[in-house]
Symmetry: C2
Subunit: 299 residues, 2 copies
């Protein structure tokens, strides 16, 4: 059923001190059969959602914004008090799993790091690649979104770091429940709003608004993930002569936007054609240019 | 390292319609080696923390409050839009894993249900038993706790059900981060307080206060888990002639409490000897009576 390509990362975190001969000789990652069980049911990744991940878009064999993803992965691990991931190992594992996957125009790679089995003090890591879903309709016709309360004030990341806002953790049940709520309301996706009315992000994406000629995204000190795709999208808009800014955006301002997109690593830029009950015009040529730019990224 | 006893639950959710002969012949659960990998890394339980669980205390072979745990497990599954777990199968699996475990005075059983592999439409389930840690010190000397902001308003369970408050999900990274924050502050455990100053629960426990002869616990419509152990503790206090009540308790009232406990399935009743910087007296005889009552439960 699944056509994933899997590598287990046998040395996911930096080793303290100097490697001995056996450690040096052991491979840092190994291919594994994704159709077979590979994980202990006692792993805290599954019993507690205790770990972090990244999703990376791979277009024509090129892993997009890989260094940004690696940096964000390390930041999530720090936020979770996990040992420091060895980014050289992970970078090589990502390249290896791409090489091993059947060549397709678009695939994605997930990097996953868990705290491992309780008490074992040995984090678990793996990377896998899968062929990307066909997102052409989302990228052109666009998506309907609903706004949903994220429950937290906009400043909890500063006041209450244990809430892990801004870390990309494996505890994503709420993000998935929000998407199901969107489906119940006849929509495809979600824009989270803080309990005090500040626009945040999607469950797996960042929001970009076009408003009176300015391109805006919620500032990243609101406990939202700094978007790797959002950063590239800003480069595109700047190349078109548009002013870009990180801002505190109220739900009211969302209502006044001329155009809006949810951007993320694998789907790239999905234009929003409705927010709650308000229809929004999709700027077809601008969106097409944006997705062409994103898909052509070589950095 | 681990001495877990594991059964994979092969028919974790109710089957639609009548079982065919092959389905009837297949066992509902099977013993498995917990030292071997049993789970796909593609399971949404690990990649998204997408599932629910229960922890059940087993004292001298008796699973305590099993029916309450089964009901809460089904309620969590409904909250997550998972298929209905077949409680007859789970009940039998819990009994089987207890029988298979080395007999010890206290062990615990975890029931775990995940959404399974994305798109496969086949939830994954397992139960495992482990010898309980030695909680004698926590049950007598007691625990230091800190109050931490839970980030959500007290009424978020009613306004925003997609936040899954009150469901016991596998997305517990925040609960574990809160415990680490408590350790950094020199404490053992946490009492979560809502963003609007209402006392909620511990990350894996319920709070009970003794206040002017009344025994109080936060009411369960605050998006907190209805505690199976808390319900039994109320029976104990009522048998001692104390009045019990479910109440909306402010953080100020917490400061005035004469005594307090965090109660949970496996640790049972841990008396609180300090909240933040305030020392609290532990009522030794009352706490001992409470734990004897909880450990003797046969229902």
């Amino acid at each position: 059923m699944s056509h994933a390509t899997l590598f287990l990362v046998t040395r996911p975190v930096s080793v303290e001190g100097v490697l001995d001969d056996a450690q040096r000789a052991a491979p840092d990652f190994l291919p594994a059969d994704p159709a077979e069980p590979q994980l202990s049911v006692l792993d805290l990744g599954v019993s507690r959602g205790d770990g972090c991940f990244e999703s990376i878009s791979v277009v024509r064999g090129h892993a997009q914004a890989l260094e940004s993803h690696l940096e964000r992965f390390a930041a999530s691990a720090r936020r979770l008090d996990l040992p420091e991931p060895d980014l050289d190992v992970w970078r090589a594992a990502v390249h290896a799993v791409i090489q091993a996957h059947v060549p397709v125009p678009e695939l994605f790679v997930k990097m996953m790091l868990t705290r491992g089995i309780e008490g074992a003090n040995a984090p678990t890591g793996w990377v896998y690649a899968e062929t990307a879903p066909d997102f052409r309709e989302a990228r052109t016709t666009g998506i309907r979104v609903v706004t949903l309360d994220r429950g937290y004030r906009h400043d909890v990341n500063r006041t209450s770091p244990w809430l892990l806002q801004g870390a990309k953790t494996l505890s994503y049940a709420v993000n998935r429940a929000a998407i199901r709520e969107a489906h119940r309301r006849g929509a495809n996706d979600v824009i989270f709003v803080s309990s005090d009315g500040i626009v945040l992000e999607g469950p797996t994406s960042n929001l970009i608004l076009l408003d009176g000629g300015r391109v805006r995204t919620p500032q990243t000190d609101l406990g939202i993930l700094a978007g790797t795709t959002q950063a590239s999208a800003f480069e595109f808009f700047e190349s078109r002569g548009l002013r870009t800014e990180y801002a505190t955006i109220s739900a009211d301002e969302l209502e006044r936007a001329d155009a809006a997109w949810l951007v993320s690593s694998v789907r790239q830029a999905a234009p929003i054609n409705a927010i709650d009950d308000r229809e929004l015009l999709v700027d077809g040529p601008l969106t097409e240019g944006l997705n062409e730019y994103l898909l052509a990224r070589q950095e």
